[in-house]
C-alpha cells in the first residue's frame, strides 16, 4: 500500500513540544545538533516566549518532524511520498534527501528571520470556513484596498481557505464573510502575512541562499505546496522551497494528488494532527495516523504491514 508522510506547518507548535519526542538516541542526536548549530539550549528553543516568534516555531517544527522521520529511516520504513505544509516542506525535503538537516535548519532560521523583519505589526492571517476559494477570491477582490491589502492564501480544504494581509483589511473581509455565507471566520494566531505577495522579498532572499547549496535529487517524490505536482528534480524542489512563502499553499490539491497516485496511508509527523484531520475529512477511504495521537510504535507497525 502506498503511503505518504506529512510534515506540519505553523499552528501545531506548543510549549515544551520537543520534550514529547520519542526517547531514542537518533532523536537526542538531532536535538543536540540543533542546539549546537543554533548556539542555544533546548529550553530556550521551545519556551513560551520563543514560540511567540515565527523563527523558533519553524525551527521546532523542523526539528520535531525530521527527528521523528529519522526513526522510520533507521527501521528502513520509507514512505512512497512526502509532503509538508508551508515550513513543513523543508522537513519533507530533508526526508527526501534533497537538503541535509543542518542546511534545512539554517534555511528555516533565515526564513523565520526574514518573515519577522519584512512586515511590521499590523499584519497577520485569518481563516474562513464554509466558502470555496472562488467565492472568497471574488469577495477579497471586491474589498481590496492597496493600503490595507488582503490576499487569499492557503487552500487547506475545499471550504477552508486562509487569508493573509493587513489586520485592518482582514477584519473587513471577516466581517463581510460572516454575513455572506461563511460558517466560521476568525484570525489565526500568527503575526506574519505568509503565502502572499507581501513576502516576495523573502522568497528572493531564500532563493539566493538555496542557490549556494548543492541540492541532491529527491529520493522520495515530494507533493509540492505551490503547484501541487510531484517534484522529482532537485531544481524543482529548490524552486518550491523558495517560492512557496509568497504563493498560496495548495494543500488540498497536494494531498488530492497523492490520493490519485494511489496513496492510502497518510502518517503525520509530530506535532499535532492538523494535516491528519484534513486528509481524513477529504478522503474517507484512506487511513490516517499521526505520531502525536497514535504513537510511533503503532505507526511503524502499520507501515511494516
Amino acid at each position: 500500500m502506498k503511503s505518504a508522510f506529512l510534515f506540519p506547518g505553523q499552528g501545531s507548535q506548543y510549549e515544551g513540544m520537543l520534550n514529547d519526542l520519542p526517547d531514542d538516541p537518533v532523536v537526542k542526536e538531532i536535538l543536540e545538533a540543533s542546539c549546537e548549530i543554533l548556539n542555544t539550549r533546548l529550553e530556550l528553543l521551545h519556551s513560551k516566549k520563543a514560540l511567540s516568534t515565527t523563527k523558533a516555531v519553524q525551527q521546532c517544527l523542523l526539528i520535531s518532524s525530521v527527528s521523528t522521520y529519522k526513526l522510520f529511516e533507521k527501521e528502513g520504513l520509507y514512505p512512497s511520498y512526502v509532503a509538508g505544509h508551508s515550513v513543513g516542506a523543508f522537513g519533507a525535503a530533508t526526508a527526501s534527501g534533497v537538503i541535509t538537516f543542518e542546511e534545512a535548519l539554517k534555511l528555516v532560521t533565515l526564513r523565520g528571520e526574514l518573515m519577522e523583519n519584512t512586515c511590521d505589526e499590523g499584519y497577520g492571517m485569518a481563516v474562513v470556513l464554509g466558502l470555496d476559494e472562488y467565492q472568497i477570491t471574488e469577495i477579497v477582490n471586491k474589498l481590496f484596498l492597496e493600503s490595507e491589502p488582503v490576499y487569499v492564501s492557503n487552500r487547506n480544504a475545499p471550504t477552508q481557505v486562509t487569508l493573509s494581509g493587513s489586520l485592518i483589511g482582514l477584519q473587513k473581509v471577516l466581517d463581510y464573510v460572516k454575513t455572506h455565507g461563511a460558517t466560521a471566520a476568525h484570525f489565526l494566531n500568527v503575526s506574519t502575512p505568509s503565502h502572499c505577495p507581501l513576502f516576495n522579498s523573502v522568497s528572493e532572499e531564500l532563493l539566493k541562499e538555496l542557490d549556494k547549496l548543492e541540492l541532491r535529487r529527491p529520493k522520495i517524490p515530494i507533493s509540492s505546496n505551490s503547484t501541487s505536482r510531484l517534484l522529482m528534480q532537485a531544481d524543482a524542489v529548490k524552486e518550491d522551497l523558495a517560492k512557496s512563502i509568497c504563493h498560496p499553499v495548495r494543500w488540498h490539491d497536494a494531498v488530492n494528488l497523492l490520493f490519485e497516485t494511489g496513496t492510502r496511508l497518510f502518517v503525520e509527523m509530530p506535532p499535532g494532527e492538523v494535516l491528519t484531520k484534513l486528509a481524513q475529512h477529504a478522503f474517507s477511504e484512506v487511513r490516517t495516523m499521526s505520531i502525536s495521537k497514535n504513537s510511533i510504535e503503532d505507526c511503524m507497525y502499520v507501515m511494516k504491514n
Binding site: 464554509g130 471550504t159 461563511a182 505536482r229 494528488l257 490519485e260
Partner: protein
C-alpha cells in the same frame, strides 16, 4: 469502357493483415500457442505494440486490466512511445504514468473521475495531448470509425488454452472493445485470472483473441454502485417520495435507469414501503437497466421487479444474482452477463426514464457535475440523460409527455435531475453561470463539459418541490419554474410568490403538499433497509458486501 491498367500491379489491399502477421511473428519464440508467459509480458508488449499505435486499455468503470496496465508502464519508451490511448475510464495511477514516461502521448476517453486532478494538471503541463471527452457509447462508436485500435488490452476471469474467454458478471464493454480490434486485423491480448480446461460459458470466442496471459493477481474491481443506506438523509427520502408520487406514478414509469447516487438509492428502498402504500406494485419500476445495486434487493424480493439488465457487475452481488435467475440476465452457467454497450443502448432508447443527481444547474436547466481544476469527463449520463430524436416507439410514460396536439407531435423521454438547493457549506446548486465554462477554458476543451442539457431535462426535483419543465416551451416560464423550487440560491431569490402560485395552479410545479406528502413523513423508518446488514438479511445472506461496507 473499363479501366484496366489503373494500379494493377502496385496496390496492396491487405497491408493490415500483413502487418499483423509481422508483429505476431516477432513473438513466436516467446509464446506457447496463444499463451504469453506471465514473466515475459513486458517483452511481449514491446514486440506486439508499435510506436504511435492506438491502444485500447480496460480502464472500464468497474473492471481494470491492472496486470496489463502495470506491465504497459514498464515498457521501454525508447522502444515504444507516443501511443494513442483509448479508454472508457481512467482509473488507476499507471493509466497516467504511461504519459509521464513518454510511453503514451495522446488520449481519448470517457470518464476520469479517479484521476481528474492529475489529468487536469497533465493537460495544463502539456504532458498529455487530449483527443476529446466522450460518453461511453460515443467512444465505442468511434472505435469503428476514426479511433480504430491497433491493440486491445482486456481482462477476463478465465480462459481455456485455445483463448476462449469467460468474463462473467464483469463482461462490461469487453466484447465491443475486442470486436473493434479483432475484426480489423488488430491484436487482442487478454489477461486472465486463470486458465482452465472448461469454461463455465464462452463470453468471447477464441477466434477474436490473439494472446492470453495469466496475471500475477486477479484483476482489480471497484464496487462503485454500492450505497450504504445509513448515509441516506431525510431530505433525500422526501425527494424520493416526491419522485415516486409526482413522477413515477404520475407518468406511469415502468422502465428506467437510476444514475448513481444516494437519491436514487432512496427511491429503490422506498418501493416496498412508500410506493407499496400507494398501491403501485406492478404499475411502476418493473423493468430496469441498472448495475446490480444492493439497494434494489428489497424491491426485487418484494416482487416489484420483472427484469434488470446490467452495464457491469457489482462486487458482492454475484451469488444473489445467480440465485435470482428470473430477474437478471444470466448465461447457461447461471452467472450474470453484463454488457455496457448494449445496456447504454437500452438506456438510451428503450426506457421511459433516466434520473440522476446534479451538482450544479443554471437557469435554463443545463446541468453539470464538474469541479474546477478537475477534468472528470462524462461516463454514461449524457447518453442516458437526453431525449433521443431517433426514438419511434411509444410507451405510456413517453407518450404522456406529449404537450401538443400537433399531428407531428411526439412523446419525450423523462430525464429527471435531482439536487438539493445547496451543496454542503453554502455552495448554491442553482447558479447563473456553470463552472463547466471555466473548466472548458482552463483545460482548453472544445465544448463546455455539460452533463445534461436543459432542453432535454423534463423534471427537476429539489427539497422544495418538482418543476415539470417539459410542460413549457417558454424560456422565461421555464426559468420561473426553476426559480420557484431553487430555494434561497441567487436564482431562487428572483422567484415571485405570485408566479409560483400561478405555476402551482397550472400544475407546472408541485410542492410536497400538492402531492399529498407531508415533510414530516419523510423519515428513515420508511427505508426498506436502513443499513448494509439489513440488505444482507433481505437477500437471505446471498449478498456478500465488500470489506469496506461491513461494519461487523
Amino acid at each position: 469502357m473499363v479501366l484496366k491498367n489503373v494500379g494493377e500491379a502496385t496496390k496492396s489491399w491487405t497491408t493490415r493483415v500483413e502487418a499483423k502477421r509481422e508483429r505476431v511473428e516477432k513473438v513466436k519464440n516467446l509464446v506457447d500457442g496463444v499463451i504469453i508467459p506471465t514473466n515475459r509480458i513486458v517483452e511481449a508488449l514491446e514486440l506486439l505494440i508499435q510506436t504511435g499505435d492506438r491502444v485500447v486499455l480496460e480502464g472500464n468503470n468497474q473492471k481494470q486490466a491492472s496486470f496489463l496496465s502495470q506491465s504497459l508502464v514498464q515498457i521501454d519508451p525508447k522502444k515504444v512511445h507516443d501511443l494513442h490511448m483509448i479508454m472508457s475510464s481512467i482509473s488507476r495511477p499507471e493509466h497516467l504514468d504511461v504519459f509521464e514516461y513518454g510511453i503514451a502521448r495522446k488520449i481519448d476517453f470517457s470518464y476520469a473521475g479517479p484521476q481528474s486532478l492529475r489529468i487536469a494538471q497533465m493537460i495544463e503541463d502539456g504532458k498529455i495531448e487530449l483527443g476529446d471527452l466522450h460518453t461511453y457509447i460515443e467512444l465505442y462508436g468511434r472505435l469503428f470509425i476514426d479511433l480504430i485500435p491497433n491493440v486491445a488490452l482486456v481482462a477476463a476471469d478465465k480462459a481455456d488454452s485455445n483463448g476462449n474467454l469467460y468474463t462473467g458478471p464483469n463482461t462490461e464493454e469487453t466484447p465491443t472493445l475486442v470486436e473493434a480490434a479483432a475484426f480489423r486485423d488488430g491484436i487482442v491480448i487478454a489477461q486472465v485470472n486463470e486458465i482452465v480446461d472448461e469454461l463455465p460459458r464462452v463470453d468471447i470466442p477464441s477466434s477474436w483473441v490473439d494472446f492470453i496471459v495469466v496475471a500475477d493477481k486477479p484483476y482489480e474491481l471497484e464496487p462503485l454502485f454500492t450505497r450504504d443506506p445509513r448515509h441516506i438523509t431525510d431530505i433525500q427520502i422526501l425527494q424520493a417520495m416526491m419522485i415516486i408520487r409526482g413522477i413515477y406514478e404520475k407518468h406511469g414509469v415502468k422502465s428506467l435507469n437510476h444514475g448513481i447516487g444516494f437519491n436514487t438509492a432512496a427511491v429503490e428502498l422506498l418501493l416496498p414501503t412508500y410506493a407499496e402504500s400507494l398501491g403501485l406494485k406492478g404499475k411502476i419500476c418493473t423493468n430496469w437497466v441498472l448495475n446490480p445495486h444492493p439497494t434494489l434487493i428489497p424491491a426485487i424480493e418484494s416482487g416489484w421487479v420483472e427484469s434488470v439488465y446490467c452495464f457491469g457487475g457489482e462486487l458482492g452481488m454475484e451469488k444473489y444474482v445467480e440465485a435470482r435467475r428470473d430477474i437478471f440476465f444470466t448465461g447457461k452457467d447461471g452467472s450474470l452477463r453484463s454488457n455496457r454497450t448494449l445496456a447504454q443502448l437500452a438506456g438510451q432508447y428503450a426506457v421511459d426514464l433516466f434520473i440522476g443527481s446534479t451538482l450544479q444547474m443554471d437557469a435554463l436547466g443545463n446541468s453539470s457535475t464538474v469541479t474546477r481544476g478537475r477534468v472528470a469527463g462524462y461516463g454514461g449520463a449524457p447518453n442516458m440523460g437526453h431525449n433521443p430524436g431517433g426514438r419511434r416507439h411509444s410507451t405510456d410514460a413517453w407518450f404522456n409527455l406529449k404537450t401538443s396536439d400537433d399531428p407531428l407531435a411526439r412523446g419525450k423521454k423523462l430525464v429527471v435531475q435531482v439536487a438539493e438547493t445547496f451543496q454542503e457549506a453554502n455552495k448554491p446548486v442553482f447558479v447563473e453561470s456553470l463552472d463547466a465554462i471555466s473548466v472548458k477554458d482552463q483545460a482548453n476543451l472544445a465544448v463546455a463539459p455539460v452533463m445534461i442539457y436543459g432542453e432535454d431535462v423534463t423534471h427537476i426535483v429539489t427539497e422544495e418541490g418538482i418543476a415539470y419543465l417539459y410542460k413549457s416551451d417558454s424560456i422565461s416560464e421555464r426559468r420561473d419554474m426553476i426559480a420557484s423550487i431553487a430555494g434561497i440560491t441567487p436564482i431562487g431569490m428572483e422567484h415571485n410568490p405570485k408566479s409560483t402560485e400561478r405555476l402551482r395552479e397550472k400544475g407546472f410545479i408541485a410542492l410536497p403538499e400538492d402531492l399529498g406528502i407531508r415533510r414530516s413523513d419523510a423519515k428513515r423508518s420508511l427505508l426498506a433497509a436502513k443499513n448494509i446488514d439489513e440488505l444482507v438479511q433481505w437477500s437471505g445472506g446471498l449478498y456478500n458486501p465488500p470489506a469496506k461496507f461491513r461494519s461487523w
